[in-house]
Amino acid sequence: MINASLNQLGAALAAKKISSVELTQLYLNRIATHNPVYNAYLTVDAKTSLAQAAAADSLLSSGNAGPLTGIPIAQKDIFCAKGWRTTCGSKMLADFIAPYDAHVIEQFNRAGAINLGKTNMDEFAMGSSNETSYFGAVRNPWNQKAVPGGSSGGAASAVAARLCAAATGTDTGGSIRQPAALCGITGIKPTYGTVSRYGMIAFASSLDQAGPMAKSAEDCALMLNVMTGFDERDSTSLQREKEDYTRDLHLPLTGLRIGLPREFFTEGLSSDVGARVQEAIAEYRKLGATIVGISLPNTRLAVPVYYVLAPAEASSNLSRFDGVRYGHRADEYTDLADMYEKSRAQGFGEEVKRRIMIGTYVLSHGYYDAYYLQAQKIRRLIAQDFTDAFAHCDVIMGPTSPSTAFNLGEKGDDPVQMYLSDIYTIAVNLAGLPGMSIPCGFGASGTMPVGLQIIGNYFEEARMLNVAHQYQLATDWHTRAPQGL
């Protein structure tokens, strides 16, 4: 049951082979057993989840069920869920109970899905290893010494360890795709504006985008069907017809043009990851695709541009955490300024403070033009690179992350090394394009998963999912699960 696809689970529920309450209890039991090791969940509320499951069972009985009705989903702790503690991985919000539902949560509730719990994450989604969480690091189910990636590390770990049927994540610079790659699962960050950001705690507003993390492309398509849709409460939400992301899964790949950016295959890429990606490309050739060499000349600027723009927005977005209305407030202070300083110094971790400092600096008088404005210009050049490339290919492929999962603590004292683990994913956020990661084998040790990144043109999620799904029909990397579970 724990390895079943969402469609299989849906069929089992519809056929009454299992009830939603039973299925939810099964996962709750697994969480109780394994979460002490993986630390993938920050909050579990069995009573609420089981009540939702009971309600889903009545829906299933009455024949009003949708594809995800009764299926337990793990929610990243960045989404406000009414009545649930919503921490965003921070001491600042350690005791914050959200009084309202994010759009994404509403969508799952409407679909009759079960909120199985809130998953661990890097603090305010700032990190690539899940080590910046105030609530402790998450462990990678493939190797407990290794990181799961970040910032959606809890979600990736929970899916890989089969502690949920599927999960949500958010991706600002690679936070869905990189942990998906490091944990051997499938994850997709849709086109910016496809999933409403309402109720999703903001890191960098112009880059943040929610998406699903699951065991397969097909599961991601079903999840995306629930998560997307116009929401008037988010001004950047796009007013588009609702799509069925499963509609093209079955299409053959004959004639598919895959662009390989030469900048993705240079120094910095570990050889085992490079080799697995090339093998995946070879598999695509067998499936009828042709390969086109392309160039994304401004790729090397993506990381520096991102580390100007994302902290700039974050420094402002995180200003509301001031200890005045909610969140952590220092116990003792002398005056207003002291209250702000102490509350924020105590409430935020090191990485968050570092980015607030960077962001404040690049927006300050005299530096704005040189940093923020310049970065915005380069951002447009980076987007233009992709537009040019898509004139020659249908999808772009490459590695998701330069290496397989590194060990806990390995990059802890070198932020730049940590930032570089998102080198292939960041440009996609800057351009607002959809990107995904699928498992395509294992690294040199033979135990740590490698992710293949697929980048599509704007609104081409259905095509990308088709491309991923056909590969998953031909290979079985996505069905591999860590030992001992």
Binding site: A204, S316, R320
Partner: protein
Amino acid sequence: MSRTNINWQPTGTLVRRKVFKDQKENMATSWEIVIGLEVHTQLSTNTKIFSGASTTYGAEPNTQADAVSIALPGVLPVLNKGAVERAVKFGLAVGAHIAPRSVFARKNYFYPDLPKGYQISQFDLPVVGMGAITIQVEPLSGKAAPYEKVVRITRAHLEEDAGKSVHGASLGMTGVDLNRAGTPLLEIVSEPDMCSAAEAVAYAKTLHNLVRWIGISDGNMQEGSFRCDVNVSVRKPGEALGTRREIKNLNSFKNMQQAIDYEVQWQIDTIENGGKIHQATILFNPDTGETRAMRSKEDAHDYRYFPDPDLLPLDISAEFLDAMRATLPELPEACRARYINELSLSAYDAASLTGSREMADYFDTVLAALAPSPQSSPASERENQSSTLAKLCANWLIGEVSAQLNRDGLEMAQCPVSTQQMSGMLIRIADNTISNAGAKEVFRTLWSEGGEADLIIESKGLKQVSDSGAIEALVDEIIAANADKVAEYRSGKDKLFGFFVGLAMKASKGSANPAQLNEVLLKKLAG
């Protein structure tokens, strides 16, 4: 420095202000005053600029603070179209360029009444660009003549208001009320085109009238719907602009006047005593009549403005502009010109009648009811007649009606006498049915009891006597009964004329036509 040299001595300042007022005329030759205004106008939308929370004034603290107003994690701003409509209307009313694309920016600073830690405003791309308004300046010294002046408006931009800190909410604590947080504001910035307190006040009053006239703000200054920041500097003619100081949050025209006078004198004194003006934000204390620095430029915030990534650029189409233009009423300036040119009213009357849209509308409605019908008389005569009627109507509105409204503390919109009742009464003045005194009686009755002018005239017997025979008889009786006074009058005591008028009026119970009575009295008293 000895203590007596400090300019802040309150006793000294009062004297200095007095001197300054007398010196104002020749002061202009030695010092030039440069003033620019920033006015925050609260827009009259029912809901906030970025959320659906109510903007009603005076509710219990934090009862109008929704998730967006208190900036819960994850909430996002959604622009209120009504605020945009109002901003665009204002831009059109001042002949400004409306930006086809403007941008919302975040102004970052920490304060407990600013829940997001930033204010959403517009910075380098405001919705309203350069425009201008014409102001009518009444110089403060009675001798100088009123004059017109064009003041340029640099820009006007949309932004959200902050909440309020309530100090001492409970013992030793400060409370925060976020009801006002997110209320839509239009910040209107002028060029430094004004060179006296009188001009600054005239500009503020004109603007205040305009925003209410076009229906974008209630302009309620007590409730903070119209707040003025005044930038003041002084210089010698021909020199570069002096360093300015900004007087914040003036919420009455009287305060503005006093604050500018005080500040200008302080700056002149400071420079003449060898000091320098430093850029600063200052507050005016209405109790002492003084201004005082709040913060200097050194501790000015770096607001770190940048485009708000949560909001798309604001695009304004030509169709939207046309639709907004179509909703604009005749503007006060055009209305004023019409009163002067078409109705031959004085500049003073025209300015008074256009002091509010309600007043002008009332006037226009009453006048339309009085206007002679096109069939009744030739065009030239009609024109004369209508200007006479306009003058009559204007006198009543500016005189009796305004005075009575003032006494009762009412706004024009609350005037208990309807336009229909008013025109009913004015018709009877115009056709000589009632005297002015009789009309006052009718008006008082209409005001306090309502009714119809004709019925009141009838029931109170106010119809004036214009029968010359009746008046002559009355005058003859009075002359006969007061022979001694008549003798005194004839021997040169002209002042007694009023005494006879009084007697005659009393005898006629106020119904004698005063003009006719005067004429007859003059003739008969002359002997």
